[in-house]
Subunit: 201 residues, 2 copies
C-alpha cells in the first residue's frame, strides 16, 4: 500500500518542477517580469495550480532563495577542511563568496536584495539557512581571533565588516557592469586583502 508514498513523491516532484521553472524564469527575466502564468505555461499546468504548492509569488521567491543560500553554504563548507592558515582560509572564503555571487548574479540579487523587500523581517532568523551561512563566517573569523591574528577580539563586528566588504563589491560589479572597474579579479582580491589587512593592523 505505497500509494500514499507515491502520491507524496509525485507531489514533491511537481513542487520541484515549479521551483526549477520559477528559478529559471526569475533569473533570465527578473522577478518582476515573471508572471505566475508564465511559470504555469512552462510546466504546462494552470496558473492557479501553483497556489496549491506555494502561498503566493513571494513565497515562491522565498523558496528559490533558500535553495540559493543552501548552494552558497555548500560552496563555502568545502573550504572548511583547509586546516592550514585560518587567515588564508578566510581570504579564500571571501573570494568564493564573491565568485558565487558573480557566477549567479541574478540568484544573488534575488536572495540578498529582492527578497528582503518582499519578506520584510524574514532574513536571517534563528535556524534559517541564512543564519547558517553567517555562522560559517563566524567560525572562520573565530579561528583567526583565537590565534590572535586580528587586532580586535569581537567576532561579530569582525564578521560583519568582512561581509560588508564582499557584499559591497559583489553588488557593485553586478549592478554597474559598464563602470570602468579595475580588472575584476584584481579588484576582488584588493577588497578582501585590504579588509583583512585592516583587521590585522
Amino acid at each position: 500500500m505505497g500509494t500514499k508514498e507515491r502520491r507524496a513523491r509525485e507531489k514533491e516532484q511537481l513542487r520541484r518542477q515549479i521551483l526549477v521553472a520559477a528559478r529559471e524564469l526569475f533569473v533570465s527575466e527578473g522577478y518582476e517580469n515573471v508572471s505566475m502564468r508564465k511559470i504555469a505555461n512552462k510546466i504546462e499546468y494552470s496558473p492557479t495550480t501553483i497556489y496549491l504548492y506555494f502561498k503566493d509569488k513571494a513565497d515562491l521567491l522565498d523558496s528559490v532563495c533558500k535553495e540559493t543560500l543552501l548552494n552558497l553554504l555548500n560552496t563555502l563548507e568545502k573550504l572548511k577542511n583547509d586546516k592550514s592558515d585560518p587567515v588564508e582560509t578566510l581570504r579564500r572564503s571571501g573570494q568564493a563568496y564573491v565568485e558565487f555571487g558573480l557566477k549567479y548574479p541574478q540568484d544573488y540579487k534575488l536572495t540578498f536584495v529582492i527578497r528582503p523587500q518582499f519578506q520584510k523581517d524574514l532574513g536571517l532568523q534563528e535556524g534559517s539557512v541564512g543564519e547558517k551561512v553567517f555562522n560559517y563566517l563566524r567560525e572562520m573569523v573565530s579561528e583567526c581571533i583565537q590565534q590572535k591574528r586580528f587586532r580586535h577580539a569581537d567576532v561579530e563586528t569582525t564578521g560583519q565588516v568582512l561581509w560588508s566588504a564582499v557584499h559591497g563589491v559583489t553588488l557593485l560589479l553586478i549592478d554597474f557592469p559598464d563602470f570602468p572597474w579595475t580588472e575584476k579579479d584584481k579588484l576582488i582580491d584588493t577588497v578582501i586583502h585590504t579588509t583583512i589587512e585592516g583587521l590585522k593592523a
Copy 2:
C-alpha cells in the same frame, strides 16, 4: 510677452509636482507597488498626463534617482572644504555616505539597486551625476595618495575598494534590519576604519 516663459515655468512646476509625488510614493510604498494611477491621483491629474512629462515609469524612476544623486553629491561636497587631514576627510566622507543611505534608505536602494535593474547600461557614464559622485571620491583618494598616506598609488582601485565597503554596509543595514548587528554607528565606524587602515598598512 512673457507668456511663453510663464508657460514653461508652469510646465516645469507640474513636472516637479509629479516628481515629488512619485518620490514620496516610491519611498513609502516601494517602486513596484506604486502605479501610475496612484501618482496621478495624488497630484489630481489623469494618469496619462504623466506621460506628457516622462517617457514611462522607468524614466520617472530615473529622474527621481538623479535627484537623489544630486542630493548625495551636495552632502558630500560640503565636506570638501575641510582642508585638514585628507585621510580624516575621506573617513568623514565615508561616514556621510553611509549616513545618507540610512537616512533615505528607500531612495538609496532605488538609486543604487533598483534603477540599474531597469536602466541596464545607464548608470555612471560620462557627465552623469553618478560619475560626479565617484569623481568626488577620486579627488579625496587622490589627495591621500599624493601625500603618500596609502600603500598603493592606484586611485581607481583604491576608490573602488572604499566604495565597496560603504555600499556593502549601507545595504546590509537597510536590507536586514532584524539581523543582530553590532551597534550601528560602531559598525559603520569599524568598516570605514578597517578599510582605511588596510589601505595604509
